[in-house]
Symmetry: D4
Subunit: 225 residues, 8 copies
């Protein structure tokens, strides 16, 4: 297979990425016109690859729905998924945990991404540290997971607490939920980077996609043993 | 009594502050030469007021020790205290809690300040959220307090957790403990300002003095009823 | 009573919070769809608890008005309040002071919150430091308060001045009122954190809710004596 | 075993952490006096646990050397290691890669941490993107690793490039190497958080310890299968 | 020719700039009303000079189209070009390279600017570092260029990689493409300023115009020899 | 005259300011509802004072026009002026200079403010440093002024150049004109604060009102001699 | 007289500045070696001009003292002054006011600068807003001044209060006095830029020299009438 | 020749860089121990390549002087140069211009770098915009240059002015000279990125090396024609 292909004068698709990195190139839909988006979707689809797009806005979602009515779209997480030719099995146990209800869009993006990339996933919602008992009753479940993705805005304190309760890797996703001095998620991001629980992995603000990818990679590693 | 007095050409002491605000003017020692510091200490002392100084550096401490050998100095919290003429009684229960050992200097400053200003104080050290059980065994003690001062650096997550466990006011003090993206305490400060536990009072970075003053004012209010 | 309850797949309500922290979980309406908001309101209401929601946007307000026509809504402060089963008495004297007219929405949020949580409240508006005499005539009233909440944008200087005139705790709320280098309230926030008046409590930008909660906790403490 | 223990009035050691999180509490030496540091080392050692300390400054290193001459110290990575009672086996393949020579202290801290926590480790130095062929000849080696830790200052571009070449998880560590607008590692940190290679895990600036811990957790997961 | 001319009471056109700097004053359309924009276009055009405007918004574009139907407008790069009286020849080989599809508007602005100012230009799109082989196949083409303009958002890593592969000057243009901690292009800007490849020229965020101008100046210099 | 007056429950007007500061309280219209704005305008007008309002948005402008058709409104500078009872004479020579056309709204606000407060004013537009000769021909005029207000966005370099050419005080006003790393005027603000020309006075971003007030005060001083 | 002169290969002195700007070029001593500093001092002195140097460090002060024992040095304000050939008269009334004792070095620099440049100066120290009565007793004196320079660190609130009490121009100088979130004077700087008192002139952090120069220019204007 | 070589366990030298990029790898001395530095110098020298090191601190300088007494060291610019085997000719006309005396160390680094990399260089010092005539007399010389490097701290305004006077490319180097709100050169950096003169190339703060390299590349291009 050719390693990359041009799509008119606006894209150079990396058709080799599945082989190199374990999953085909994912489409970041922001900043793309509808024709550009449809063009890259079609090219990947024609090449027999999985087509996964994130940050799909409503206008794009409608256009995609029209062209690919059987694809799966998640309006909360704003993702689009059109499976390719190869059969898949799922592996591992990725648990997504959110601090609040407002963190759900990012959590959905993370969960769908990990799933599409081959992981089994579950979610526990709204167990922020202001009501600690909601989290503590989940400790046995937390300890079963292979990887935990913790999604939190405002003070971003939840990953530190979760990290102190389990052995598995914890991935922290700051969200832009909050107001005033949360500065669009900066506060939560800094909290997570400075976590007093050792070994927390941090990704970009609102980057559910990054967290899901990282989680899928970790459980895929486990499988390879 | 005259409400203020000049000290040579470098200070105008507010001798009325005890009456207005409940405690005499406190001396911030940073940026003061030794003669300036000794001058204001002497003026306040001569006026019969309590003399309390913070951020005393080693050179200043030695000079003060020489002039006022009976004053109380705390080398960890870097404070100096020379009681005035009025007898005092202590009131309330101010509990100082630290996330780590490195937060001790700020915690000492807070504790001494609250005490000097008329509060009963106790301290619990090194109960950060990475080892939650250390904190959870203290919950009954936490619930007895009138005010809790929580001192934390790094992720600054402890006040959110404490705030979710008690009814009394919680005062959060961010410290500059940490490295890299803690940016001298900024990370912990933002965490605390964005606490998901409602009603946490925040003070400046490393500002044990502010926290102690605020705590003393809150318990003093209680006494007035 | 069970300590928490799931609301479909988007929330885990902390029904134990009143017991633990003195007031039920408050609903932060930002980022919640109308069905989510109605869902959590209904669940709390069914459990017999006070239902208090902040940051209610116009679309949410209309939906809530339709379902709960007897609830109290404050369009300036953007709050919704539906009292629960327990009778209440009010305590203390919380005084809300604003620097300017533009600070009124945040001041309303603070005042309503403190009131709903059991405090007596009053307000003095538009007494910023550029016209100091407007404040100075209020000094006798200021000195009667148990707690003063000072709401200010732009230079955020008012809490320092108020703090130097009274004995009671002062809570400073920076607002995003201003332009240019106010950077959305950052300037006022920093001013307040660096107040030269000792013991000022600071909360997040525009966080009238946090200030009101803190004030209610302080006067509740007083009552417990 | 008791879950925690007080060390005089300055520490509360979490003796349960090995069971909960897979490795005993690690000592962050910054901001600790020599007696405090010796006190916590002795307490952990007496409890039969592994003693691992990071950010050991020269004065602390000499004092530790005197008390524990058989412990392992790495002056480049500034770590101290005194093994506990339990025998260990190493697992996995953690590869540490640096962009430049100046990144070595952080890389050493990462490598030693991963090793002490049970991973096999190797290092490739000075293969920054300005001379891409140095990296490209290492691709076969990179593809054998279970986890790659990439340590880079200045532009922090290396993790994006490595992340595009391999399937395994990549952990990015920004360092404070650079000058001017690197702002103490902030530039490299932001680069890594915004990596166009999906699924890069980011840790704090200069946080070799965090990266090593995360890597050890990932390979430990693999072992558990 | 007079060196400058007033346009009513809102502009002072620099009619001498072509002589001094090699190209007439370019119109920055942002913040100009339609009448203001038309006024300066007409004045420059009447003076026989090239008229080049950037950041033309849709409303301005329609008005300009109506008055100057033969002018060239590029809706992707948002530029307007109305050639003046003097014949031109093109020189040099300016190559514009983009990391992703979302960088195209900025790349178009850069390419059009360089072209209008006298350079030959070509473009290679979507060859970001996550799929390095897409870039490596272009190395022979890269090495033919006189100047390379590299346009990249997110991590902004591409200029460092390109800079390590060629001898010619590289101009790096950070774009605001990305989300979360890209902070509107700040992340990419800092990456580029800290490039480990020596001698990369950086321009403002999204400043395709600046990059195109600089490139045209460099190749014009070559011509003068 | 009473020194202040309440306007319903939303304002406390400072009627004493003219006496104290030389001009009545000016109304900052942002964040005020139309009824609030009309209320304070009416109160000041009834008290016989000059009514001057800034940052008037279109909706407010229409309402004011309807109630006070004889008042002067400047739609570019967004000001409203309704003269009071006292006759005025103008004094001094305040010269407003802009770097570009986009700076005109701020320059208008500055000019109108200075004029309303009693200064003679003139304006020179679009003489930024990229075409220095446009400024140099104005040097004789610059040297006649009593105060020069320099309004500039982007690099904000013009005040430094003007400051090096004249003896009179220079007031620098940074504007939010620019893009990318101008960060809403921050770049120009920092430039002006760091001016290598001694004694430049800086005001807030886009703060034409502040600059005009300061200029009027300076020339009023001159008059008092 | 020639308008500028080279000093070896490290300086180009502007000998024309007195004529153009009212005072000779002032020497900023930071970053200058002792030979460089002595070189420029000698050149200005030989040209018969006033020699004024700021930010003189102790090593430089000793060298200058040795060469020019009759020059005036102020160790608190770190200035050096060697009068030139022309006789001077002083004019105006510049009043320097400080919020605290720690602001004295900056206040001294401001006072000396204004004096050297031809103004009469006086100082009032330590009248910060936490003890407002200290300031209020000075109001009659404040109202006599032609210009007031207000020097304040921490919250930087004093200029807003002073600005609301007087008619004359107020120059605000933020200082780096404070700790934690004062961020080296940034907090005070932002406060002053956002002053709710109209028409406050702001200068750089710790820039006593800028404030003094501006004040001298304002009173010099007055004299010219 | 082999493209890269290991130096013990701390470096991987890129011996192919001269061929690829036109000049051998340059040694950034900061963060390197003396043995590391000597090791890489010796390896490059043995390979017959030019050895150029920047940011040489005094301790390193002494060690290098001892080992390579014939190498050229510039203590102001902190560079070390040991020419390799190949004869060179110089080309082009690179003019370095500084705003002040304090910018000299950075200017020296830039000049030496450009020279070592094959350009003819000259310098004009201390012609900042506060005394514009010093610059204007140099305009004829400026217009002869092929590239101008402008080095400026404080307001960083000089490159905008120079850029408006010439046709050749201008490279702007912000320096950390200044105080207060210059924030270590950030102010000058932002000024330069926002230059109103089109096509200014910006490099990192204090990055004389980057500017020199870029200038040498531009003039080398010219030569190739």
């Amino acid at each position: 297979m050719q390693p990359s292909t041009s799509v008119n004068d606006y894209a150079t698709l990396d058709l080799d990425r599945q082989k190199r990195c374990g999953f085909p190139e994912v489409i970041f839909s922001e900043g793309k016109t509808v024709p550009w988006l449809l063009g890259v979707v079609q090219t990947l689809h024609t090449a027999g690859q999985d087509v996964f797009a994130t940050r799909v806005n409503p206008e794009q979602a409608i256009a995609l729905e029209k062209s690919y009515p059987r694809a799966m779209q998640d309006p909360i997480g704003r993702t689009f998924y059109l499976p390719g030719n190869t059969a898949k099995t799922r592996t591992g146990d990725v648990l997504v945990v959110t601090a609040g209800t407002g963190d759900l869009p990012v959590a959905h993006e993370a969960k769908t991404t990990a799933q599409v990339m081959g992981a089994n996933t579950e979610m526990i919602v709204d167990v922020g540290v202001a009501g600690l008992h909601r989290l503590l009753v989940q400790v046995p479940r937390l300890r079963l997971a292979d990887v935990i993705i913790v999604v939190a805005g405002m003070d971003g304190a939840l990953p530190s607490v979760v990290g102190g309760l389990v052995q598995c890797p914890v991935i922290a996703v700051p969200t832009s939920v909050g107001y005033g001095a949360s500065f669009g998620g900066l506060a939560a991001l800094l909290t997570m980077l400075n976590s007093c629980s050792a070994g927390v992995a941090v990704v970009n603000i609102d980057a559910g996609f990054s967290a899901g990818t990282l989680a899928a990679k970790i459980v895929a590693q486990k499988q390879q043993k």
